[in-house]
Amino acid sequence: MKQAAAVHPHDRYLWLSGLLTLFGLSTAVVFTLRSTPYLMVLFLGLGLSCVAAGVAIFAVLLVADVRARLHSVVERRFKAGEAVFQQGDFPDRLYLIGEGEAEVTQEAGGGPVVLRKLGPGDFFGEVGIIGNTPRTATVRAVTDLETLAIHHDHFTALMAYLPSWKERVFDDYRRRTSGEERPGGPPAG
């Protein structure tokens, strides 16, 4: 079954920003064509505020995006029991484990099913990034976890420079998505 494409969490806010600006610009067109007191109140009171709000939302998202891109490789620590990401989340980063252990679980009919355990040197989170799908499983720290989190834009750039690693990642991706890891089950990671 084909998985739906992952939708970035910024998407709905960008949509809102666009809609607000559209409304503000529409009031500007109407007010430019015909000036009446009511249209003036509509334009100056509502139209300008909508455009300002649209620009503000866009600017905040832009700053957040630039910050994420600037911090493309960051060290992230998780306490034992803390979730690294949840099933269904947007795939923003790939994680490399430096120290500690994590377990991959997936929601099934009767509750979460543990797919596998990960240790130092293992990586996870590539399924969503390569396939552009929402996270297919939840990853939780079993012990205190130390990871290197790579932003998904930077990850694709890194692949070009590290062919051997690219091969390993894609082998792993194929293995997980083909269901070898859990016969009959959906892909994990």
Binding site: L14, T21, T32, P37, V41, V55
Partner: protein
């Protein structure tokens, strides 16, 4: 073939010249002062920019639905949301505020109808009608008499007007427009104060100081500015 070409040429020349002739005729009948072409150009530019931004945003929202966070969609939205609207809104504000000086703007509010009707009434003896009839004020009659000079005067007039509109819109209006403060008759002096006709009038001796200090109003001696409530019109 040649005849047909000549015929078409004749039709073309007529099509070009007829409107010009018509314009000349109309110009003889009622002279219209020349248009403010700068305002017209800014208006066209503001409309073009706003409409192109609307088209760009709408297309991006539809074409990149679910992928708006991608680089290309973000760039398109950046142009549509951040770059183009700023000058478009600025020009629209300038054009709109400039257009709001016209009598048609004030008259578009039903409460102002009786005032404008009185001003245009050839038999009215009110000061506004006198000024309108004799073209003492060339254009923007309401604006000229109800606005103090300078940026803050304009701003005050706009804010005052907006509050009237808002109270009507919110249902708090009484259906009658009353000035928030007493009319500042120094506005009259902006034109009259320095005119020789005004200065030569013996009755006007010492009047300026009294008007400036607020102890005397022009309507104390002259006919009232607008038709009164006794004539079925609000004052």
């Amino acid at each position: 073939m040649r005849r047909i070409a000549t015929l078409w040429l004749g039709v073309g020349v007529c099509l070009v010249l007829l409107p010009a002739a018509g314009h000349g005729l109309a110009a003889d009948l009622a002279y219209q002062p020349p248009k403010d072409y700068l305002l017209e150009w800014v208006k066209v530019l503001a409309l073009l920019m706003a409409l192109s931004a609307i088209a760009l945003i709408a297309w991006t929202l539809i074409a990149y639905r679910g992928r708006l966070a991608g680089f290309r969609a973000r760039m398109l939205l950046f142009i549509g949301v951040c770059c183009v609207p700023f000058p478009a809104m600025l020009m629209s504000t300038a054009v709109g505020l400039e257009q709001s000086k016209a009598i048609t703007f004030c008259n578009s509010c039903h409460l102002m109808g009786p005032f404008v009707a009185d001003m245009k009434d050839p038999d009215s003896r009110s000061l506004s009608a006198l000024h309108f009839r004799n073209r003492y004020i060339q254009s923007e009659h309401c604006y000229n008499c109800h606005t103090d000079y300078g940026l803050f005067g304009t701003l005050q007039a706009k804010l005052g007007g907006m509050s009237h509109v808002w109270s009507e819109f919110a249902g708090a209006g009484s259906g009658l427009v009353r000035p928030k403060t007493n009319y500042r008759f120094t506005i009259c002096l902006n034109c009259h104060g320095q005119s020789s006709k005004f200065m030569q009038q013996k009755d006007h001796a010492g009047v300026v100081n009294k008007v400036v200090s607020g102890t005397l109003t022009c309507t104390k001696c002259h006919h009232r500015s607008h038709a009164g409530p006794s004539e079925g019109r609000p004052s």
